[in-house]
Assembly symmetry: C2
Homo-oligomer: 212 residues x 2
DNA sequence: GGTTAAAATAGACCGGTCGTCTAGTAGCAT
DNA sequence: ATGCTACTAGACGACCGGTCTATTTTAACC
């Protein structure tokens, strides 16, 4: 089976190198030539592995969200004291990545880097990212629900809305951190998250927009 | 003095057209040629008005933040029933722009569109945007403080931190809205904002990260 | 070992990139 | 009118963008 995986290995190598490059320079900011050279793959080979740059971008994003979601599931399956700990461990990872302690994983987030660029550029890429975040938010909501079920978190606003709102906040925090080169927004988000989860019983976040 | 303003008018025209184009296609995604053609300005003239594409980008962003901040000051100076109304009017503008009702102004925000791209691309552009958001957050904090002073909003978490947290949330909401083509995140942000402003007395967002 | 199909590559293609340069026009002051 | 500056004009260079066709290398099979 090494023959099959040989091609797959090359494909993966391109994707991997592409990820790193795109994270730094954006999608349109990176040329195929650059990716290929960095991957040690000859230029002519690109269209053997991908039908177009856009398809390459989709694969890149798909691989990323798959990996991310898998990590989430791993966290969901991990046995930890309670649901609240699990949830806060997730947010903590935004601040400081699981392996690399200093560099949080917010600076490595492709959603943060590419969402705005991709949204107007390619419908296919947009969809991959959009569905990815949707699935992610669903998992966060699940975490909240479980934490409430085991009593480690008080009830309050509906979990799905709260999850979305929290994710939004962290997304914005990551963007602002990227922009200001200061981690204060991330810390702010962490503290706000704690506060919101505990006292969300008071703040009614309900899904009807009826009010003046 | 029409001579001076003639050149200035052309410069402004380039900036204006550039704004629209960049908003759709990103900064690196737009070529000078395209901007110039759309502006009706010949290609050779560009380097008379701007020393480089980067400088053009800085001017573009500077013009944008100046305009935005001016709009904020206008809102701050407007006489409205109370501070809370003023503040919520600001957030309301994110949802539905002042003039164009359907299309909220979140889709037209250059910070949302360019922050991630510019942060790694150009230090100069990054700084313009970063200082812009900083000033913006300060004005939001001021609004919160004034609303508390006139009694239309209860006290609670320190205004600067709250302002930053709210802005982050809206930034993330705008990004998610751009990505999903669904305004639900924006509505979510609006409701969460109301809840947070009113019940922030309970949720202590204090700047010490001491707890298990 | 020779045939054949698939995997992988080389390199040309055309158009666009930013930026430079020189020649030229318009408008005003003296 | 002359000279001077502000501004326009577009060709030009070197390079890089994504894409494609033709070609070579590799492996499989009998």
């Amino acid at each position: 089976m090494t023959q099959i995986s040989k091609a797959e290995a090359t494909r993966r190598k391109i994707l991997e190198t592409g990820h790193a490059l795109v994270l730094k320079k954006g999608f349109v900011g990176v040329g195929l030539q650059e990716v290929l050279k960095a991957s040690g793959v000859p230029k002519g080979s690109f269209y053997y592995y991908f039908p177009s740059k856009e398809a390459f971008g989709c694969a890149l994003l798909q691989q990323y969200v798959d990996g991310y979601l898998a990590l989430m599931d791993q966290l969901l399956a991990a046995d930890l004291p309670d649901g609240r700990t699990r949830l806060m461990r997730y947010w903590g990872a935004w601040l400081a990545g699981t392996e690399d302690p200093a560099r949080g994983w917010a600076e490595d987030c492709l959603v943060v880097k590419l969402a705005a660029e991709v949204a107007d550029l390619s419908e296919d890429m947009r969809l991959v990212l959009s569905e990815g975040t949707e699935a992610l938010i669903a998992r966060i909501a699940q975490m909240i629900a479980e934490a409430r079920a085991d009593g480690s978190l008080p009830g309050g606003a509906p979990a799905p809305g709260l999850a979305q709102m929290l994710y939004q906040m962290w997304l914005g925090a990551a963007l602002l951190t990227k922009l200001s080169r200061d981690r204060a927004p991330m810390r702010q988000a962490y503290e706000a998250t704690q506060a919101l989860l505990v006292c969300s019983g008071h703040s009614h976040i309900h899904p009807d927009p009826e009010e003046d």
